[in-house]
C-alpha cells in the first residue's frame, strides 16, 4: 500500500475573468487526499468549495479557468492536461455528483440510456453486459424493482431516488475518487440520512475516496475522516475531523460551530458570526475574515500563510495570525 496520496493539490488558483473584475474563486488551495479517505470540504456559498471540485474535474466554464497550481491524481498532473485526456478520466477515474437531482439527469432520455452511455464512454462493452452492470448498480444503491426503473424517465422518480441514480452512475466505472457537491442539500432530512448512509457504505465497500462538499458541518461530522474549512477562496483550517470539530483552531470554524443551534444552551441568545461574506470582487487586503473576526489584530493586515498547529504529525493546518490552537513550536 503506497503512501503517495491519491490526489495532491498544491497552490490551486481558479479565477473568473468577468466584466466587473477578476473573481478569485479559488485562491491558493492545497490539500492531499489518501486512497479511500473521506475529505469534507466545508464553507458557505461563495467560499469556492464547489469551484474547487469543478477545477479537479476540469469542468470550470468560461469566463473562469485554472490559472495556477498543480493537481496530481495518482501522480499524474491534471492541470494543463489535453481535453481529450481529461475526458477519459471523467466518469472513469474521477466522478462527480451534483446538488440538484432534478436537473442533473436529462429529462428526455431514459435512465438505462443515461447509465449505459456512461459505461460506453470509457469501455467497449456489449449492450447486454452494460445493462446488467447498470442494473446491479441500481440494486447497490438500494433502488427497488431496478428493471422497471431502467426503462423509466427521470421525472418519474422522487428527488431521493434520482440522487441515488446519480450516485449509481458515478460509481459505475469504479472510480478512485468521487466528488460529491452538496448532494443532500436539496433533499428532505430523512432522505438525507439515507443517502449519507448509502454513500458511506458504498465507498467503504469499494475503497473509493470521497471529497464531500457541503456548507453543513453536521453532515460531515459523522462521515469525514478529514475536514478542510474554506472561506473566500482559501482554506483557513484543515485537519482530522475529530480534532477540528472538538478544538477548532480558526475563529471562523469556531464561529461556524457556535452557530449550530443545537449546540446552544436552551434559552440563551443564538450566536452568529457578525457581518456578511465579502464580495469576491472586493476582498479586503490581508486576511479575508478580518472584518468579522473577534480575534483580529494588527498582524491581520497581511494575509496569513498556512501553518501547522497542534501536535506534530497530526496533519493540522490553520491560516491565522491568532489561531485558537497554538502553532507548532510556539510556547504553550
Amino acid at each position: 500500500m503506497s503512501d503517495a496520496p491519491l490526489l495532491d493539490v498544491q497552490g490551486l488558483r481558479t479565477h473568473f475573468f468577468t466584466r466587473a473584475g477578476i473573481v478569485k474563486a479559488v485562491d491558493d488551495v492545497s490539500f492531499a487526499l489518501a486512497r479511500g479517505e473521506v475529505l469534507g470540504l466545508v464553507g458557505e456559498s461563495g467560499s469556492g468549495k464547489s469551484i474547487t471540485g469543478y477545477s479537479i474535474m476540469g469542468l470550470v466554464d468560461a469566463p473562469g479557468r485554472v490559472v495556477a497550481g498543480s493537481m496530481r491524481l495518482s501522480g499524474r498532473e491534471l492541470v494543463g492536461l489535453p481535453p481529450e485526456e481529461m475526458r477519459k478520466l471523467r466518469g472513469n477515474r474521477i466522478a462527480m455528483i451534483f446538488q440538484d437531482p432534478m436537473m442533473t439527469l436529462n429529462p428526455v432520455l431514459r435512465i438505462d440510456r443515461q447509465m449505459v452511455e456512461a459505461i460506453h464512454a470509457h469501455e467497449k462493452v456489449g449492450r447486454k453486459a452494460a445493462l446488467a452492470r447498470a442494473r446491479d448498480a441500481l440494486v447497490a444503491v438500494g433502488i427497488p424493482s431496478p428493471d422497471e426503473r431502467l426503462a423509466a424517465f427521470p421525472h418519474q422518480f422522487s428527488g431521493g431516488m434520482r440522487q441515488r441514480v446519480a450516485i449509481a452512475i458515478a460509481l459505475l466505472n469504479r472510480p478512485d475518487l468521487v466528488i460529491a457537491d452538496e448532494p443532500t442539500t436539496a433533499l428532505d432530512v430523512t432522505i438525507q440520512g439515507q443517502i449519507l448512509y448509502e454513500m458511506q457504505k458504498l465507498t467503504r465497500d469499494t475503497g473509493t475516496a470521497v471529497i464531500w462538499i457541503t456548507h453543513d458541518l453536521s453532515v460531515v461530522a459523522g462521515l469525514a475522516d478529514r475536514i478542510c474549512v474554506m472561506y473566500a477562496g482559501r482554506i483557513v483550517e484543515q485537519g482530522r475531523c475529530v480534532d477540528v470539530l472538538t478544538a477548532p483552531a480558526h475563529p471562523y470554524t469556531q464561529g461556524l460551530l457556535d452557530s449550530v443551534p443545537s449546540r446552544n444552551p436552551h434559552g440563551a441568545r443564538l450566536r452568529q458570526i457578525p457581518g456578511m461574506t465579502p464580495s469576491l470582487l472586493a476582498l479586503p487586503a490581508g486576511c479575508a475574515f478580518r472584518d468579522r473576526c473577534p480575534r483580529a489584530g494588527v498582524a491581520c493586515g497581511a494575509a496569513p500563510a498556512m501553518q501547522e498547529v497542534g501536535s506534530a504529525g497530526g496533519g493540522r493546518g490553520v491560516r491565522c495570525h491568532y489561531p485558537l490552537v497554538a502553532p507548532l513550536g510556539a510556547a504553550a
Partner: protein
C-alpha cells in the same frame, strides 16, 4: 392516448364552427350582404332571383344554416369573376401554394437548425456573430422587397432565373407538381428562397437561444462529468431537448408560411391561392374570399391538431401526465 386525440379533435371542431360563424358574420352581416354576394352587374330580375335563392330575405340564423349546409356539400358560392365554384377555384390552386410552402420550409429547416446550433455553441466567435447578424437581416427585410431585389439581381441583371410564374407541372399521385423538372426548379428557387428567409432567420435564432439555454443546464454538466464526448453531449443530450420546442414551432410556422405565401405569390406571379386572394380582394370577388378563409382556417386547425399530438409524442413528461389524467 385515444381519449386525448378525441378530446383535441372535438376542440378543433368547436374552433372550426366558431370561425365559420365569425367569417359568416364578417361577410354576411358587416356591410350589405346583397352587394357582397350578388354580382353588382346583375339586373333587377336576376337580383331578386339571387336574393331568393341565397335566402337573403330570411333571418340571419336561417341564412347561417343555409350557409353551413352549402359548406358541408362543398358549395361556398360562385365566384363573380370566374363564374365557377369558389371552393373549386381555391382547391385548384392549392397544390401550387403547398409546393411553394413545403419547399420554403425545407430550405429553412435544412439550413436553419445547423446554423443555429453552431451560433449557440460558439456565440462569441466570428462565425457565430455573423450568423446572428445575418439572421437579423433575414428577420427585418420585408419579404416583398427581398423578392423584388432577387428579381432585380437574378432575372434582370444576371438573367439566370425566370422572374415569374410556375414551371411545367407533372402529375404525382394525382396532384400537379413542378419540382420534378429542371425548368420547374428554375421557377421554384427564387420564390421558395424568398419565402424561406423569414422562417430561416426565426429557426436560427430559436435554435441558438435553445442551445445557449440548454448548455447552461445541469444535465449538460453532468453529462460532461460522466466523461461523454462533446459530440455526444451536444448531439444527443442538447439536441434532444431543444428539438422538442423547435419541432412544435416548425409545425405551427408551416401554417404561417402558407399565409405568407400570399406576398411571395404576388411578387413572383406564382399561381397559388394567395395570389387568387389578393386579386379577389381587389376585384371584390367575395365568395372566393370566404372560400379562401374557410379553407385556410381548416388547414390551420388540422396543423394545430397534428402539432399537439406530435408534441405529446415527443416529450415524455407530457405523455405520462396525459395517461394519468
Amino acid at each position: 392516448m385515444l381519449v386525448y386525440i378525441i378530446r383535441r379533435s372535438l376542440q378543433s371542431l368547436v374552433v372550426l364552427v366558431a370561425m365559420s360563424i365569425i367569417v359568416f358574420a364578417g361577410v354576411y352581416a358587416v356591410g350589405n350582404p346583397i352587394d357582397i354576394l350578388i354580382n353588382p352587374q346583375a339586373d333587377q330580375i336576376d337580383r331578386e332571383r339571387a336574393i331568393a335563392s341565397l335566402g337573403l330575405d330570411k333571418p340571419l340564423y336561417a341564412q347561417y344554416l343555409v350557409f353551413l349546409q352549402g359548406a358541408f356539400s362543398g358549395d361556398l358560392g360562385k365566384s363573380f369573376v370566374h363564374a365557377t365554384s369558389a371552393l373549386g377555384l381555391i382547391l385548384e390552386r392549392m397544390p401550387a401554394t403547398l409546393e411553394l410552402a413545403l419547399a420554403a420550409m425545407l430550405i429553412a429547416i435544412v439550413l436553419g437548425i445547423p446554423l443555429g446550433l453552431w451560433a449557440g455553441l460558439r456565440p462569441n466567435s466570428v462565425a457565430g456573430r455573423t450568423i446572428m447578424a445575418t439572421s437579423i437581416l433575414g428577420f427585418s427585410l420585408p419579404t416583398f422587397w427581398v423578392g423584388l431585389m432577387l428579381i432585380m439581381v437574378f432575372s434582370v441583371m444576371l438573367g439566370w432565373l425566370p422572374s415569374n410564374g410556375r414551371g411545367p407541372t407533372v402529375e404525382l399521385l394525382g396532384v400537379p407538381v413542378s419540382f420534378l423538372s429542371l425548368e420547374g426548379w428554375r421557377h421554384l428557387v427564387m420564390p421558395a428562397t424568398n419565402l424561406a428567409l423569414f422562417k430561416l432567420a426565426l429557426l436560427i435564432r430559436l435554435t441558438r437561444a435553445g442551445t445557449r439555454e440548454a448548455l447552461l443546464q445541469d444535465y449538460v454538466k453532468f453529462a460532461r462529468a460522466k466523461g461523454l464526448t462533446n459530440a455526444r453531449v451536444i448531439g444527443v443530450h442538447v439536441l434532444r431537448n431543444i428539438l422538442i420546442p423547435i419541432v412544435t414551432v416548425i409545425g405551427l410556422e408551416f401554417g404561417s408560411v402558407i399565409a405568407f405565401a400570399i406576398v411571395t405569390e404576388s411578387v413572383f406571379a406564382w399561381p397559388g391561392m394567395g395570389k387568387l386572394l389578393i386579386d379577389s380582394i381587389n376585384l371584390l370577388d367575395r365568395p372566393v374570399i370566404v372560400a379562401y378563409l374557410l379553407v385556410i382556417v381548416s388547414i390551420f386547425i388540422v396543423i394545430n391538431l397534428i402539432v399537439d399530438l406530435l408534441y405529446s409524442l415527443l416529450d415524455p413528461r407530457v405523455r405520462v401526465t396525459e395517461s394519468q389524467g
